[in-house]
Amino acid sequence: MNTPLPVQPPASVQIRRKRTMRTTLEGITYLLPSLILFSIFLFYPMLRTMYLSVYLTDYQGNPVQFVGIENFVYLLKDVNFLQSVKATLLFVCYTVPTSVFLALCLALMANEKLKGIGLFRTCFSSTMGMSVAASSVIWMFMYNPSIGVINKVLSLFGISDVQWLLDPKIALVSVAISTIWMNTGFTFLILLGGLQNIDPSLYESARIAGVSYLYQLRKVTLPLLSPTLFFVTTVSLIHSFQTFGQIDILTKGGPMDATNVIVYSIYKDAFINYNFGSASAQAVILFFAILVVTFLQFKFGERKVHYQ
């Protein structure tokens, strides 16, 4: 039964076609879980969001009436929405450069070869293990005007009664400060990794050449770290646009919408006011904002990056 058949060209072609069919099927099988999940929980809802954004919806989120771009037009005229855009942009500007800069300083320090440096590295990265909720609760207490430590310390300097979270002028800054603290751990860890990836003999060569620390930083370290810096900045930017937890716990978007960043605004519109259409329109705007920022970052930021 098992005598090999003489292989004929057409048969072999057929076998080959069968084989490619099989490998394709097999490949798809391995990918199937991801594909299904992505379709149900990412692609479909993204499209659905876009779809909902051009409809008026009922309380169950069913589209009721097609309104075209009216949701968007309405939003652009809505002071609340404009305020939330402003808050978001300000928040991004406050948090991203500061946390990247601070994390960079920490990483530069923690990259020195010293005894016990591992302990400091652990300290600096510790906020990465802190949840947004826990961190926010702690900061909430620290910001407490009467019993929080910050005002206690300030009162030593004669400054008293700063309403960190209730004063519309500084609430956003307060939230930004706590956010910077929360983000430092992750940013630090990545930047430290980037620094450790730099070939130590480059530093040694610079030491023999006798250049100053700042010159070395400017001409060697930062250019070689630029891919990592670029990555970290991009991630921080995107991340910062998506801020929610600390707002929900610390200020609930208030006072006077000063901290009503876009994701919080979406959340309120959709799940408190049941205004799914308008919320979807905002989500679409968020999506495009992140897309544009990422694109700009790649277009202009990447030019300054030195890939090895």
Binding site: E204, A206, R207, I208, A209, G210, S212, L224
Partner: protein, 368 residues
């Protein structure tokens, strides 16, 4: 003025065991000095201590007669070429070459001039505007050399600079580096684990093993008069043949199997010795020679020479090196002859036995 001296230098990384033990050596100005030894023996450590990249645990380092133990690398007035070249990937060749020159208060024009000079010397003129990754291995190597040259430092340190190159390029760069050093008259301290490099380039070399200097001297001196079995087997390819032997009056008894007669009396104080002989000193016996017969176990014909592995005893194989191409077969019994003046004797503990040397040198010269 650019003499480098190490006096009883020790180095320990962890404060427990020493990586370098009691190293004393004096490197003359304008000398091409090679540090050679197997991997992990501490060559890089020594070089990096001279450069100031590693602290010296104890002992003194003098450059030009001045103690420099605590001096930062940049003030020691030396240049260094790293094994991986340490070129800055984001800078052009020109920027790489002139990197750091501004700290030496050299004007922009002078920098440019020196850069062009060095580039010309090394054939890099066409590549000045390129980035390191656009260069071949050999060109990168040259950029690293150029960077060392432009500083006009009287001392240059190199850590296995050729190990990333292929064999052909390596031999080319060997002679280039050697010529360059002669032309510039700088003191070169050169690290390698390749004994061929050491032999061909060095004025003097130091053989290291496990952090201890084994022998310091000119390459041929070390080749001809290794001071212990480590040096004997490390220098030379194929290495020196070594075997334990019992001394019976004027004969050597190998593993109670083979006897070789000598015309000299060996020092009777030694019962057991280690006998060494270079492969080129084992030749096919002529008529009239006092030959011995051995079975061939392997033959490698290399074009200009033939390597014949034969059974000295059941368990020990020696290699003979005959120039030219020989038609010898495995399993053949061949008559071999060793000029007894070529024997080198070591104490059981590996140190060279000095007694017979004078007579051997004398008879060796008679032969010529």
């Amino acid at each position: 003025m650019a003499k480098v001296e190490l006096v009883h230098v020790c180095k320990s990384y962890n404060g427990k065991e020493d990586v370098i033990q009691d190293l004393s050596v004096s490197i003359e100005p304008g000398e091409f000095f090679v540090l050679v030894g197997p991997s992990g023996c501490g060559k890089s450590t020594i070089l990096r201590m001279i450069a100031g990249l590693e602290a010296i645990t104890s002992g003194e380092l003098l450059i030009g007669g001045i103690k420099v133990n605590g001096m930062p690398p940049s003030e020691r007035n030396l240049s260094m070429v790293f094994q991986n070249y340490a070129l800055y990937p984001h800078l052009t060749v020109e920027q790489n070459i002139t990197f750091g020159l501004h700290t030496k208060k050299i004007s922009k024009q002078e920098q440019k001039k020196r850069c062009l000079e060095a580039a010309e010397m090394l054939g890099l003129t066409d590549f000045l505007k390129l980035k390191p990754r656009q260069l071949s291995g050999g060109q990168r190597q040259r950029v690293a050399l150029a960077r060392a040259i432009v500083t006009h430092a009287p001392i240059c340190l190199m850590d296995e600079p050729l190990s990333n190159l292929d064999a052909k390029l390596r031999s080319k760069m060997r002679s280039e580096i050697r010529q360059l050093q002669r032309r510039l008259g700088i003191t070169m301290i050169y690290v390698t684990h390749d004994q061929v490099e050491a032999m061909t380039m060095a004025d003097r070399m130091m053989v290291l093993n496990e952090g201890r200097p084994q022998q310091i001297g000119a390459p041929l001196e070390i080749y001809n008069h290794p001071s212990n079995i480590f040096v004997a087997s490390f220098i030379g390819a194929p290495p020196m043949n070594l075997a334990k032997a019992k001394v019976l009056e004027s004969s050597l008894l190998f593993n109670s199997e083979r006897v070789m007669r000598l015309h000299h009396h060996l020092p009777s104080s030694q019962q057991q010795v280690i006998v060494g002989v270079r492969p080129e000193h084992i030749r096919l016996a002529d008529t009239g020679d006092e030959y011995f017969i051995a079975e061939v176990v392997n033959v490698e014909v290399l074009g200009t020479e033939t390597l014949i592995t034969f059974e000295l005893t059941k368990t020990e194989h020696w290699i003979a090196r005959w120039s030219g191409q020989w038609n010898v077969h495995v399993g053949e019994q061949v008559p071999l002859f060793i000029d007894e003046t070529a024997f080198i004797f070591f104490h059981e503990d590996g140190q060279r036995l000095n007694h017979p040397v004078s007579s051997y040198v004398a008879s060796g010269e008679e032969r010529k």
